[in-house]
């Protein structure tokens, strides 16, 4: 079913009623899971993911080998390395999409996402502080509606913060697209922020992940055909979107921290003095 973009130029509203530079509702929680070292739950529109971080811990026995999801997306040399190994495991639930589609353990798209996440996080986490250890990040996709990779990156960032793993800065991600398909080579195409599933299917788009407040791009994934001239616009919108996401995630973390201090879960120690408590 082709996406009807004809009305966009008239009202400048997208299928779900957003403007070009509007994010969908982002709802996030951290510390959702008592048994894990770090955990998070993130919704970007109807895309819902959960993340559980275990570690840094002693690397367990190698299960499954490199091919399986068990050890998928490992970065670093595990036990022998002087950096911690980041192992990412993504489970896309069968019920997450409208039509049930089962992804086997050898699904290359999932493996690629695992590898992307592992590499993205390994560049940001201070893995050199935990030699000979392993950081296990397992992500569950409960519902998909576009921008999956971006949601996974954001959820993983939150969970890593919750787990207290030192990192350079937030890695935040979002998607950007461009109105009208690649076939129509019109110059007036507008960039769009945060694509939903329908837009992702029909319009060219990219996922961009940036580090903190900077313009530095950690990951950039574009899987559709697009004119080179439109890249700049899309990238600019994407990077800007990442900054908005960072603000939201930052608030989530701070709110949780405040709550923990008020609840008395943690003492308002010396390190926490500079935190705003009002």
């Amino acid at each position: 079913m082709p996406l009807d973009t004809s009305t966009y130029s008239l009202a400048l509203l997208r299928v779900d009623g957003r403007r070009w530079n509007e994010l969908r509702r982002i709802h996030a929680q951290i510390r959702t899971q008592a048994a894990a070292d770090g955990s998070s739950y993130l919704e970007m529109g109807h895309t819902k993911v959960m993340c559980v971080v275990t570690g840094p811990s002693e690397p367990g026995p190698r299960r499954g080998g490199a091919g399986g999801t068990g050890g998928g997306g490992g970065v670093g040399a595990g036990g022998q390395s002087k950096d911690a190994e980041v192992v990412v495991n993504i489970v896309i639930a069968g019920f997450s999409s409208v039509d049930r589609k089962r992804r086997g353990r050898g699904d290359k798209r999932t493996l690629e996402m695992q590898s992307t996440l592992a590499n993205t996080l390994a560049a940001t986490l201070h893995t050199h502080l935990f030699p000979h250890s392993q950081i296990n990040i397992s992500l569950h996709v409960l519902s998909q509606d576009g921008s999956l990779l971006a949601a996974l990156i954001n959820a993983a960032t939150l969970a890593c913060v919750d787990a207290g793993i030192p990192m350079t800065d937030y890695v935040t991600a979002c998607t950007a697209g461009s109105t009208s398909t690649y076939a129509a080579n019109d110059e007036g195409a507008d960039p769009l922020l945060d694509l939903n599933h329908q837009e992702e299917q029909e319009l060219p788009g990219l996922t961009v992940a940036t580090l903190g407040d900077s313009d530095k791009v950690v990951a950039l994934v574009c899987e559709s055909r697009v004119q080179i001239s439109r890249l700049e616009g899309m990238l600019a919108v994407g990077v800007d979107g990442c900054k908005q996401v960072r603000e939201i995630l930052d608030q989530v973390i701070k709110a949780q921290g405040q709550k923990m201090i008020l609840d008395g879960t943690v003492d308002k120690g010396t390190g926490l003095n500079d935190m705003d408590l009002d």
């Binding site: 091919g67 997306g73 290359k108 493996l111 791009v217 994934v221 574009c222 899987e223 697009v226 990238l235």
Partner: protein, 297 residues
């Protein structure tokens, strides 16, 4: 699982320090490719690509099958990548390593998803008969920049490939042998090429093209951009790694376009040369010779 030997600390530092001064071990400029060579096999659809010491062989083949139930009007197009232990002891048979998965995903996105091959043209009888085109990529020698070489080989093999001609008469499908009818080329829409940037240093401020295996082992990030000569991006993959300024990524894309155009014209030349070579003494030549004789009679 056997592991590839890592370069020593000294080697790493040496390479990195040289790169700080924009010097590469093999004396190339940062944005210079190693010598690229392409040979076609005797058969149609075999392309052997050498890029420096990296060598990739791609072979395209076609067979008749039943289309997938959910896509009755499309033919089947697959790219199979195999990194055998011949290439490196780190690769094991039938156990895809991460490299293999990433290479095959990149090829898939670059060639298949970008619609380089018109899969609808492969369908013969809707829902019943279609061509299944399969490209097998074999890496014969791995000295870095596997992706660019493999992508070039796949595109070359597919553009060189000829599938048997068919005809449809009154519901009867006939497939002709090469002797009966000259095989026909695939319906090819555009030729995408991969250009891989490697980034070095903590800040990722040194960027170079066509990294060797040694350079790949010390790099801190990479970005593969696929483009065709019309200036269309087919795919960008910077899967993590060192953070790079957005502006320099845009610059990289622009330079990649120049390289892709360069690769594209090289491939066009080679294909034209091969076609010329095959014409001599081929079926067409025979036909034309007969034509020549006609006036004499």
């Amino acid at each position: 699982m056997p592991r590839e030997a890592e370069p020593s600390l000294n080697e790493k530092n040496f390479v990195l320090q040289a790169l700080q001064d924009s010097v590469r071990l093999d004396g190339r400029e940062l944005e210079e490719y190693r010598p690229l060579a392409l040979t076609f096999g005797d058969q149609y659809g075999v392309a052997d690509v050498t890029l420096g010491k990296t060598r990739v062989l791609a072979k395209a083949s076609a067979e008749l099958t039943v289309p997938y139930a959910d896509r009755p009007l499309d033919g089947i197009f697959n790219i199979a990548t195999e990194l055998s232990p011949m290439t490196s002891p780190a690769f094991e048979v039938n156990r895809p390593t991460e490299t293999e998965v990433l290479v095959s995903r990149l090829l898939e996105k670059t060639v298949r998803r970008s619609g380089a091959l018109d899969t609808e043209s492969l369908c013969l009888v809707a829902g019943q008969k279609c061509w299944s085109i399969r490209v097998d990529v074999h890496v014969l020698s791995h000295d870095g920049n596997l992706i660019d070489a493999a992508c070039f080989a796949v595109v070359a093999a597919l553009r060189h490939f000829r599938k048997p001609d068919t005809s449809m008469e009154g519901g009867v499908l006939t497939v002709y042998t090469p002797a009966e009818r000259e095989p026909v080329p695939l319906s090819w829409l555009h030729s995408p090429f991969c250009v891989t940037w490697s980034f070095f240093g903590e800040e990722g401020d040194i960027a170079l093209l066509d990294a060797t295996w040694m350079e790949e082992q010390v790099r801190s990030g990479s970005c593969t951009i696929s483009l065709n000569k019309h200036g269309e991006i087919c795919q960008i993959a910077k899967l993590g790694g060192v953070p790079v300024e957005a502006v320099s990524l845009l610059q990289c894309t622009n330079i990649a376009l120049i390289k892709a155009k360069d690769l594209s014209s090289k491939l066009d030349n080679w294909l034209a040369e091969d076609a010329k070579r095959r014409d001599k003494g081929g079926l067409l030549a025979e036909l034309s010779a007969e034509n020549d004789r006609v006036p004499d009679m």
